[in-house]
């Protein structure tokens, strides 16, 4: 089963937040939506869960009871304890609370702690546990790892990947490319438009022109730093070498 959006356009009072964007979210895989702040990531995810209705285009999703959503603010109730958060959300869906998820998140031993007193990483993990309480077919995660430290981020990713391995269709947004690279497939948004889409390997393989590593770039507008050296894009040369995802996206944004 593949969910997703087909050619959707969203206008907020004359400002186009999304323009003709399509996204496939297949079951049993993690799909990443990548872009900077204001690129349209949240708007796209909110369309997927039905919180925003697109002016044009179609959205395919399972019935509402089968959709899990974690907003960019984690969607936890800070004045409730961890256990109360879980009981409340499970109750809303008429589902049995899932202690296995809390256990996996390493939160089983802090069930009595208020969500507001958890560290950022623990709170984001609780947000994910809440979004998965009713075992949804589609789970939508808006920047789940923003502000999360590397140790907690790996644990969070392990949970996210585990959900996909269990058959859930997972879509998540991020501003970081090292994270997007983990997904089976990604969509890069810029100013409400789709810039690139596909599995990370294929996106990189289709980078036009050649990228070279130089000490001093010939054209600074087509070069970017990589530590003390530069990567420079030579659009008219034939492809060679092994660009990475950052190279591929920068080239595209430079007009590749």
């Amino acid at each position: 089963m593949t969910f997703g959006a087909r050619h959707i356009t969203v206008d907020f009072g004359g400002v186009t937040a999304l323009h003709d964007v399509s996204l496939d979210v297949p079951a049993g895989a993690v799909t990443a939506v990548v872009g900077g702040d204001g690129a349209g990531k949240s708007t796209l995810l909110r369309c997927l869960v039905g919180r925003i209705v697109a002016q044009h285009g179609e959205v395919e999703r399972p019935p509402k009871r089968q959709v899990g959503y974690m907003s960019s603010s984690s969607g936890t109730w800070r004045d409730l304890s961890v256990d109360e958060n879980v009981a409340f959300v499970a109750g809303v869906y008429g589902a049995k609370p899932r202690p296995d998820l809390l256990e996996r998140a390493g939160l089983a031993s802090v069930g009595h702690r208020l969500a507001g007193q958890l560290s950022g990483g623990m709170r984001q993990k609780l947000g994910f546990v809440l979004a998965m309480q009713h075992n949804p077919e589609l789970v939508v995660l808006d920047e789940p790892s923003t502000g999360v430290d590397p140790v907690s981020r790996v644990e969070l990713w392990r949970m996210i990947a585990g959900a996909a391995a269990g058959g859930t269709a997972v879509v998540m947004s991020t501003t970081y490319l090292d994270e997007a690279e983990r997904a089976s497939s990604l969509l890069v948004l810029d100013a409400g438009r789709a810039v690139l889409a596909g599995p990370p390997d294929e996106v990189v393989a289709h980078t036009p022109g050649r990228i070279v590593e130089v000490g001093k770039p010939g054209d600074p507008a087509r070069a970017w730093r990589r530590g003390r050296v530069f990567h420079e894009w030579l659009p008219d040369e034939s492809p060679a070498g092994t660009p990475d995802l950052e190279d591929a996206i920068i080239v595209e944004m430079l007009g590749g």
């Binding site: 049993g28 872009g35 999360v148 392990r158 730093r225 950052e246």
Partner: protein, 294 residues
């Protein structure tokens, strides 16, 4: 102008230096025997999980918190307000006034640091009359950089400097950071992201209040290895490895396992058809291994 001329007179070596710093809060040791220095023209990345002691170390380095023991020198002397004037700081929250325009923020910064004028890049000049709260985050970050650089600081302290921006804007911000380093400014960056860490000349990794590794990315990763699993059944492989309690991560359509031998991975796969190869570990995998063993 006295600040500027002092740049060339400055003794070579460390702009900021922390020697064997320890900070305890009651019975809790936030930082234990940590040393760190930032030299002229170098970019140092400070990494570690939340609670590793990064912020406490940074606050002691800037003279905002008194160490329980150990010594701190900022531009060769114990830190005070006078020394802090010689550094530029961009907090993660940027520290801009969102109800003021771009130009007003610049004027405020210039007056606070006692400089006549702060040069703005063209892209910001063009929108100087707009409220900061109404411009995009990429532009806000650019502005925070311009404000922090306006008084020509000798040391830059940046907290997650490119958080929330797109790939091209991130590349352009790093251009600015490298340009500063090449003109002799020392830069200290704290970050949670390996992509940023890889832009640094040298890394300092903290765990549980201690410095557990320092060096270039290549020094730190060394010859650490990870195992990469390629299979048509990634879900089955992931579940089997996860159930076996191995540190497994997803990498596109592949699965990676850190700190485990290929043989142990094959055993845990229990017959799932897959190619199992030893590959160089990533910085993230290495850092987590170091943090776990601390």
């Amino acid at each position: 102008m006295a600040e500027q001329s002092s740049r060339s007179e400055h003794e070579p070596g460390a702009l900021a230096k922390a020697d064997n710093l320890t900070k305890t809060f009651g019975s809790f040791t936030a930082v234990a025997d940590a040393s760190l220095d930032v030299r002229t023209g170098e970019i140092v990345g400070l990494l570690g999980a939340n609670g590793a002691g990064k912020t406490t170390l940074l606050r002691m380095l800037l003279g905002l918190l008194r160490p329980t023991s150990g010594a701190v020198a900022l531009f060769g002397t114990p830190p005070s307000r006078r020394e802090r004037r010689r550094l530029g700081y961009v907090p993660q929250g940027l520290g801009l006034y969102t109800d003021l325009t771009v130009a007003e923020n610049v004027r405020f910064s210039a007056e606070a640091f006692g400089v006549d004028d702060i040069a703005l890049p063209d892209s910001l000049q063009a929108i100087s009359g707009r409220l900061v709260g109404e411009i995009g985050l990429g532009r806000q970050r650019q502005l925070a950089f311009a404000c922090a650089l306006g008084h020509r600081p000798e040391l830059l302290v940046l907290d997650e400097p490119t958080s929330g921006v797109d790939a091209l804007a991130r590349a352009r911000l790093w251009d600015t950071i490298h340009d500063q380093a090449e003109s002799g400014v020392g830069v200290l960056v704290t970050t949670h992201y390996m992509q940023e860490a890889q832009q640094c000349d040298r890394l300092v990794i903290m765990a549980l209040g201690r410095v557990v590794a320092t060096g270039t990315v290549a020094d730190i990763v060394g010859d650490a290895k990870a195992v990469e699993v390629r299979t048509d059944d990634w879900a089955g492989a992931f579940t089997a490895l996860d159930d076996a309690g191995l540190p497994v991560t997803l990498a596109g359509r592949r699965v990676r396992v850190a700190e485990t031998s290929p043989d142990d991975v094959r055993r845990a796969l229990a017959g799932i058809e897959a190619s199992v190869d030893e590959v160089p570990a990533t910085l993230e995998e290495t850092m987590l291994a170091i943090s776990r063993s601390a």
